[in-house]
């Protein structure tokens, strides 16, 4: 573990080398500070100021890591309370003090040494990652490893970089996820009282809509038009129950055909954040879910109007 004192310079130099090797931004700045510190120490001049600069560089490196960590956790769908617990666990081990502000697209970390002499701040964008509890679990586990001293700060950075760059490793293929989602949405239809024909219609609507979702995501479309288009496509297919009188529960088929698109995790996370008094993050997640829901509603409305259903 990193400790304050005489050994800090070599430790922090190792740490920034790792940062540079891992390609983490901010490493260059820390490098220059540490290089000047090391020069100062070698010449035997300005030792106190060099140590202070090394302390600041170390704090900055830790702060940058924590901001990236928080950005990754928020990006993969972790609740604020879990992020606070994880970061507090790591910071306590390093004998530092910290605070965090979560904004809709960024996270701001303030870190100070135990004595409050040096304070640094780092902001980081919330990473654009798919919701992943696997990554959430691995990052939480990393915080435990740091807290228990099984991994030092340098290694933690390496592991973090590895986890983020390989976050999609071991995940199911999109097409296999699609088959599970098709079965799930058809089951949903049944739970809402749909008959077998309605279940088949919903399965078909989900299959086509989700296939388009995969294709659009592959072409890096914005998620909002994707939701609108997929809702439109699924609604048009789901309306088959009304048009061809295929089912005795066409309303259930139509209403359920788009449910696979509903952003359930942002909604649940938002309420969870609000319960834990993280109102800003909770509200921003709620708005994120609401905007996507509005896109789905618009797509659905367009589909219903196109099919000229008598319900409107």
């Amino acid at each position: 573990m990193l400790v304050y004192g005489d050994n800090i310079n070599s430790s922090t130099l190792d740490c920034t080398d790792d940062m540079a090797r891992a390609g983490i931004s901010g490493a260059g700045r820390s490098d220059s500070l540490l290089d000047s510190c090391a020069d100062g120490m070698e010449k035997g001049t300005g030792c106190a100021s060099a140590t202070r600069r090394a302390d600041t560089a170390h704090l900055r490196a830790v702060c940058h890591f924590l901001a990236s960590y928080a950005g990754a956790m928020l990006g993969c769908g972790a609740t604020c309370i879990r992020i606070f617990k994880n970061i507090t666990r790591m910071v306590e081990t390093l004998h530092m003090e910290w605070d965090m502000i979560v904004l809709p697209n960024h996270v701001l970390i303030t870190l100070s040494d135990g004595e409050g002499k040096v304070t640094v701040q780092e902001s980081h964008s919330i990473m654009k990652l798919p919701v992943s509890y696997q990554l959430n679990a691995r990052l939480s586990n990393l915080s435990w490893k740091v807290a228990e001293g099984k991994v030092d700060f340098v290694m933690a950075r390496k592991l973090f970089t590895h986890l983020i760059s390989h976050h999609d490793k071991g995940l199911r293929k999109p097409w296999s996820v699609m088959l599970l989602v098709v079965a799930a949405n058809a089951s949903f239809c049944r739970l809402f009282g749909g008959d077998v024909a309605a279940m088949f219609l919903v399965a078909l609507a989900t299959f086509v809509g989700y296939s388009y979702k995969i294709i659009f995501l592959k072409h890096k479309w914005n998620v909002r038009p994707i939701m609108l288009m997929c809702a439109f496509i699924s609604t048009v297919i789901g309306a088959g129950g009304y048009i061809f009188s295929l089912s005795s529960t066409p309303e259930v088929a139509l209403g359920t055909s788009v449910l696979y698109l509903i952003p359930g995790i942002p909604y649940i996370n938002s309420v969870s954040d609000m319960i834990a008094a993280h109102y800003l993050c909770g509200f921003s997640r709620f708005m994120q879910g609401l905007v996507l829901t509005c896109c789905i509603a618009l797509g659905m409305m367009a589909g219903i109007l196109l099919m000229n259903l008598s319900i409107f």
Binding site: N136, A137, S143, S187, G255, G264, I275, F312
Partner: protein
């Protein structure tokens, strides 16, 4: 016998729905079977309370979600992942999709209403469905969050 069949049918479809929606949120390997088990138990509990005990849908959803939360907190340390990884996907089959759909449908219909009475009726339909939908979602989330907050130590050390 018929009652048992209905309960098992509800539990089965809830489990399938939970597995599908869990797969979207990329849970750790080995978590899916627990998601299915928790969702089946929670949804079947809500189904029984709703249909055989005459409990209101909001209260029944709260009870189902509480059970989901407790099971998730209990099972989380077994495969070293956060309880949310089980409880959120397990909650999704309880999402009141049809209430939301009816609320939206009546809201849009109210745009083309002829006269005050028709508008009032459609707006009432929209509001009543939306209110039930919001309360069910709140009950679900609070229900599954409570065990995580009550058993904080177990919840936040599960990834150790």
């Amino acid at each position: 016998m018929d009652v048992l069949f209905k309960i098992f049918q509800d539990a089965f479809f809830a489990a399938v729905a939970a597995i599908g929606f869990a797969s979207i949120s990329n849970p750790p390997r080995g978590a899916l079977k627990y998601c299915a088990l928790i969702a089946a138990t929670g949804h079947a509990t809500r189904f029984c309370l709703l249909n055989y005990a005459g409990v209101h849908i909001v209260a029944a959803s709260l009870a189902g979600a509480l059970l989901i939360g407790i099971l998730a907190v209990w099972l989380a340390p077994k495969i070293k992942c956060p309880p949310e990884a089980f409880s959120y996907p397990a909650l999704l089959p309880m999402i009141p999709g049809m209430y939301a759909y009816h609320a939206l449908q009546a809201f849009i219909l109210s745009l083309s209403a002829h006269g005050e009475d028709e508008f009032q009726h459609l707006f009432y339909l929209s509001e009543s469905n939306a209110v039930i939908c919001i309360f069910i979602i709140l009950a679900m989330v609070i229900g599954q969050m409570l065990p995580i907050l009550v058993f904080k130590r177990r919840s936040f050390t599960s990834t150790r």
